[in-house]
Amino acid sequence: MYHGFLDKYAGLDSPVHRLDPRAKISSALAALVIVTSEPRGDIIPYGLYYLILAVIILLSRVPLDYYLKRILVVTPFVLAVVILLPVSFILTGQDIALDIDTAVFQPLSILLKAFWALLVLTVLTSTERMHTLLAALRLMKSPTVLNVILALTYRYIFILTDETLRTGRARESRLTGRPSGGHLALYGNQAALVFIRSWERSHLVYQAMLARGFEGNFPVYRKFSFTLKDCLVMIGFILILLLIRGLV
């Protein structure tokens, strides 16, 4: 089965797509740190941050609804945090002043920071193929264990999806009426089956790795060229964010 949802727009051609993946990863990390650590409750800096992000999103040529769908997925969770935060203060007996800052700007800044993080990561993952990002992370000396886990997850998530679909079909094809033990038990059995198969596969994959000389290090094969243009774009982007943040 073909699953292309992860790299759906990675094949487009745009100035953002053409950037070296290491420049994109570094810029994204900087963007996350700078904006999520923004202490001001003022709305203006967020407006400027989002303006820059909007320009990048438009330049990336990735359809806007792709970003909106991702925002919709996390909105309930972010809203839950925003709503529950004052409640937690009250429950723990903390005094909260009911001014405009506490009532509006603080929850709004949480909301904006969460969406910022999501949008930045969506720009990063939609403008670069996942395997390229993983290779770039490896070149950037990211922790080997983390990288190997990500690489294997990316490689096998589709196989597990297929196995789940297949076992689901097998279940449906034999299901006539309500199963004994209810549907929940049935889904539980299916999840256990997929888990056992995953465990067996992990064993076989490790054997295959050993057979090909694996001794703990994942070698990097891909080569990238980090040009002056990549460097300037990355530094420029980070500098603008720092300027808005008031750190430069």
Binding site: R129, H131, R212, P219, Y221
Partner: protein, 258 residues
């Protein structure tokens, strides 16, 4: 061992002597298995499901270690020799999804040579050459899970051929392949210069590409001989659950109907 026997042993590419193995359950899987394979020879190991064929293959490069001696090109398979042994022996697993664990084809094919300390440009040249040899040009940047089963099988073979090992061991290479792919794979196996060991239940394709057959049943080698002799021994094959005469009957029937 006499001097003559020692000389013969030195000439062998694969020498398995009195190998015993049991998994944690304690049930013996391999019982006193002895086999000898000459350099460049193509040996088929046939046997029913659960006979211990795949387990035997995993002993060739030390993934499993039982009691007894396994030697590859005169080097004993033991922990201190693993690096050398794993350069010498390439295993092609039954399911390519177990073998292809890197995101892209080129990264997967390059994995073995890079682990062996290969220089990047040289590895790149070898990757290109082996993909071309298996008609996989243009597949370098493809993601393994987007390939068909047959293509993944060929990529799995490429991951082994790229290291140019002295011994290539195939575990059920013909399983789940369409007839055209089986025929193609037979041609590929015949064209290999390395020593080849093919483990399979599909007797006819094995007969087509191997000059010698060993029959493994319940962990024991019950017969070894040249392909014609073993394939003609219907009594033996029937006893081991490997009788393929029904296929001949089907062929005959179709011919009559046509």
């Amino acid at each position: 061992m006499t001097t003559e026997e020692k000389d013969t042993a030195r000439l062998l590419m694969v020498a398995i002597e009195h190998l015993h193995f049991a998994y944690n359950t304690g049930t013996p899987v391999l019982k006193d298995v002895s086999l000898a394979v000459r350099p460049g020879e193509k040996l088929g190991i046939i046997g029913p499901s659960g006979a211990g064929k795949s387990t035997l293959l995993l002993h060739l490069n030390g993934i499993l270690q039982g009691q007894g001696v396994v030697k590859i090109n005169g080097v004993e398979v033991e922990k201190r020799n693993f690096r050398e042994i794993r350069r010498q022996v390439g295993l092609v697993f039954q399911n390519p999804d177990d073998q292809l664990f890197n995101p892209t084809v080129e990264e997967d094919v390059a994995f073995g040579p890079l682990c062996a300390g290969g220089e990047s440009n040289d590895v790149s040249r070898r990757v290109t050459a082996v993909l071309k040899r298996l008609n996989l040009n243009g597949f370098e940047k493809k993601v393994s899970h987007h390939l068909s089963y047959g293509e993944r099988k060929r990529v799995a073979l490429a991951t082994v051929l790229v290291s140019n090992p002295g011994v290539i061991a195939f575990d059920e290479p013909f399983a789940n392949l369409d007839p055209a792919m089986v025929s193609q794979l037979i041609e590929i196996i015949i064209s290999l210069e390395s020593t080849v060991i093919v483990v399979s239940q599909s007797i006819l394709p094995v007969c087509a590409c191997c000059e010698r057959l060993a029959v493994l049943q319940k962990g024991e080698i019950v017969a070894v001989g040249n392909t014609e002799k073993i394939a003609a021994d219907r009594e033996l094959l029937k006893k081991c659950g490997l009788d393929y005469s029904f296929l001949c009957d089907i062929c005959r029937k179709i011919k009559v109907n046509h």
